[in-house]
Amino acid sequence: MTAPSGQAPAPRVLTPGVRAALIVLLAGALSLALEPAFPWVVTWPAEWTLPATQWVGDGVGWLLGWLKPAARLFSDLLRYPMGWADLALGATPWPVVIGAVTAIGWYLGGLPMAALGFVGLSFVLASGYWSQSMNTLALVAVSVPLALIAGGVIGILANEFPRLKPPVQVVLDVMQTVPTFAYLTPLLILFGFGPVVGLIASAIYAAPPMARNVILGLERIESEIREAAVMSGAGRLRQLFEVEIPSASAQIMVGVNQSLMAALSMVIIAAVIGGFDDIGWEVLLTMRKAQFGQSLLAGLVIVVFAVVIDRMSGALATERRRHDPRIAYGLLGLAVGLAVVFGARLPEASGFDLLAPLADAVDRGLGEFTAANGDWLAGIKNGVMFFVLLPLRIGLDQAVLPFTWGFAWTPAMSGALFAAAALLCLVLVWRGRAMAGLMLLIGAGVLETGIANLPWPFVLVGAAALGWMAGGWRLAALSVGLLSTILLSGLWERALLSLYLSGAAVLACAVLGGLIGLWAALSPTVWRLVRPVCDMLQTIPLFVFLIPVLMFFQIGEFSAFLAICAYAVVPMIRYTRHGLISTPPELLEAAVASGATNWQILRDLRAPWAAPTILLGLNQTILYAFAMLVIAALIGTTGLGQSIYLALGRADVGLGLSAGAAMAILAFISDRLVQGFAAERRRALGL
């Protein structure tokens, strides 16, 4: 500053952010004030909604009817490879399957990987779920090659024709945000009931990660390698297949790994539509019968598959070294030899039931445990429901009842709450933190009203304000436009319910995951303990998360909340830790040299440096929460997830797709908002 008077310029109180917050606050206050006179401010009147769900249903139904013959032909064709895979895996004697997996494990990762394969499959054999597992595996074995080919072709085409890339990426984004169940309804109509639907759904679901990684891998090739191929005088095809794709192979293998995991996850979810004797169906069945011991066992079988497939295909991407193939052939030969020698005397694979007593013991133990600790468990559940979830959902004014809190909420209390918030806000504004003060006031308003009861003008203005701050007018307009389609289609209330549950879970994950991440960043010992848990939680197919929460807390919103948290907390932990520990060492040295304490370094240096990374973690957590929300509909949530699930049961394409789209819109908007803020933080740090 070169002001001649030597005075510092007055700090600008009305920053754009503060102005936006003020407008949002005004919109909220107006809505609340107008509510008694004009009820349509809170509840979008039914007569204003467009029958969009029906239109979508009719339109897509017409389209599907058109496609149906081709689809049926395709599904008939697919029955052949599926039959072969089934036959191959089902009819092969189990020692050969175990031997083959062990041999592959050896080749890819040496002794530890071979042991993992052997122990894992032995567990599957012992569980008595061998034939169901092989059915699942057969589905994966057919769907993954389809997904890899489709994804690879899409990725290469997007790379060859730069004009294709942006639309392809948008489509891939959409495919990954649309909830898995939403795919199933139209597929059900197209292909009829049966395993083919699961197969195609998992192929569709598994193709985007492959395409994405192919694009990414090809993009990341050093330009000089590309140029060296050109200067060698190679034609375009040779450049692509002899130089570029092999150079990108590590990234492409990451795609194969992700694709495999996605396919497995989807195959298991697809069991919901039934018609196939696979392991996902087994979990669902036992869960419905409340046989939690068996359910847990079947769930563990899924986990074993997930871990074995993940680690082995992961080794494809990360490990360059391959182990002696002779030993692998030896292992396979040994297994074949065993099968030939013992032949028919081998016990039937499904005859094994070694772990049944264990399952029964779990059931008994669980029964005793819940009987003994029921009060305590119910206490937790009710405590969280009454004091956290319900107020968030329907607001303090409705959630605070003599039955729950011991007293009734009165308008005077609302007044006191707002007065206290306003006072704090003034203090904050006076201390120069206007933004924090206004956010506090808005937060108080939301808490008083409840997310599910938020007036729609307030939500729209809020989304516009956030969009404007995160990415300018275009993002603001996009957010408002997309939200308006939900409003018009009559799915608004359900959308708010979904928003509430995922919002609550994201909030819990942000706090809990942030703290764990912080702790793991400070102490390597903690990270050594937390890391395998995170790895495990990320490998387990979504479905399996439902089993333990059901065991202890039965069906209901709290169980769904827990399942969502368990799945969505992982990215928050990982990104927080990663952001905090990746502060450049020279910055730390400079701080130490200036005499900063550890706490000061954390607060002034590491935290701001980590902010963009932590925001990305939050973004992932939000997307994970939305993904799990739909799965959690199986154990009782309200909102869009439930609608999608119901639509699946009724084969209602219109409802399924509209609710799926609404869900995708919510996920999309939050993704863009958080990404926008993260990008802004990165710019501010000059990254």
């Binding site: 000089e224 390698i225 060296a228 200067m231 060698s232 005088g233 092999p246 150079s247």
Partner: protein, 351 residues
């Protein structure tokens, strides 16, 4: 220029402008500025385009080692890529051995690359999934040579760069210096006439760099390629070049022999570069010599020759104050030099 006749590489008024509709924008800008390069470039920048190379013209003779020197962002790598047609120049003419490469068809271009051009990259550009031998043989493979001949030729160039015994190694198993040897071997595999080197030694540490520079000079001494060599290091440029072009902000500000650059910088920018250079080692006596009709060899003729460096000349006439004769290779007197001028030429110039 060492060659005669058609130059190996000729660029005339080459522009490379990045941005949408670059060609039209360039034409319009030139039209408006009446052909003035700087104001055209300024108006292009104002409309959001990036004029990376501005009106570059130069020729490289057959067997000449032509160095393009400039700081990062000066357009030196861009102009090399225009000549190799890795990117399409926005306007201007580029000819290799008189053949207009900007208009060459795709097939002809591929053929030229297979037979005539070799290129070495700053970060080596080695194919990570191929061994040393496979990397070196790849240009031969795309030509369709059979395996035995590929292997024989690859072995030849691998020996030329001194990598015998490492044929089966993968790039990741090699040191930086070794990797660049592979890059050099690969670029020479097809025995090209024209050799492009894009900052080949910049990523290496100083000792290895010196070693590779010397080997490069040895190889060039026997192969006599026509070379464009890109560098940002003035010492490297002076050490290697037959002629140097200095680029700044996309323009070539001076082209000349190393001694010209050091002793007669065209502007302050070039002068700033050469300020830190030990001039005595790069400039020759010829550059400060005055032609003289006759000058009888005196009793203390130090025996200066025109191609001596200033350092060497100065060492011989430390104690002399009178102009001394300068001889050519055959011992004839071709001029005279005042020892004081020798010393003055070495002075570090004040800004």
């Amino acid at each position: 220029m060492t060659g005669t006749g058609v130059p190996a590489i000729a660029c005339r008024n080459v522009w490379q402008v990045f941005g949408p509709n670059a060609r039209k924008a360039l034409d319009r800008a030139l039209e408006r500025s009446g052909g003035d390069v700087d104001s055209a470039a300024r108006s292009l920048q104002q409309s959001g385009l990036i004029p990376a190379v501005r009106d570059a013209s130069f020729e490289v003779g057959k067997g000449e080692l032509f160095v393009v020197m400039g700081l990062s962002g000066s357009g030196k790598s861009t102009i090399l890529r225009c000549i190799a047609r890795l990117i399409e120049a926005t306007s201007g003419e580029i000819a290799l051995d008189g053949e207009d490469i900007a208009r060459a068809s795709k097939q002809r271009l591929t053929q030229l690359r297979r037979e005539k051009m070799g290129m070495v990259f700053q970060h080596f550009g080695l194919f990570p999934h191929m061994t040393v031998a496979e990397n070196v043989a790849y240009p031969l493979k795309v030509q369709g040579l059979d395996r035995a001949r590929r292997r024989a030729r690859a072995q030849e160039v691998i020996s030329l760069v001194g990598l015998e015994g490492r044929e089966g190694a993968f790039p990741r198993e090699l040191s930086g210096g070794q990797r660049q040897r592979v890059g050099i071997a690969r670029s020479l595999a097809v025995n090209p006439d024209i050799w492009f080197l894009d900052e080949p030694f910049s990523a290496l540490d100083p000792l290895i760099r010196r070693q590779l520079q010397d080997e490069f000079l040895r190889i060039q001494g026997s192969l006599k390629k026509s070379i464009i060599f890109i560098t940002h290091d003035i010492a490297e440029a002076l050490k290697l070049a037959d002629r140097i072009a200095i680029m700044r902000d996309g323009r070539i500000v001076q082209i000349g022999a190393p001694a010209d650059i050091v002793l007669r910088p065209a502007d302050d920018y070039v002068r700033a570069f050469s300020r830190d250079v030990a001039k005595g080692r790069h400039a020759r006596v010829a550059s400060v010599m005055q032609p003289v009709a006759q000058l009888a060899p005196g009793p203390d003729d130090p025996g200066l020759r025109a191609d001596m460096t200033l350092d060497a000349a100065l060492a011989r006439c430390m104690a002399l104050y009178q102009p001394v004769p300068v001889h050519d290779g055959q011992g004839r007197v071709i001029g005279a030099v005042n020892p004081a001028d020798l010393a003055a030429a070495l002075q570090v110039e004040e800004p």
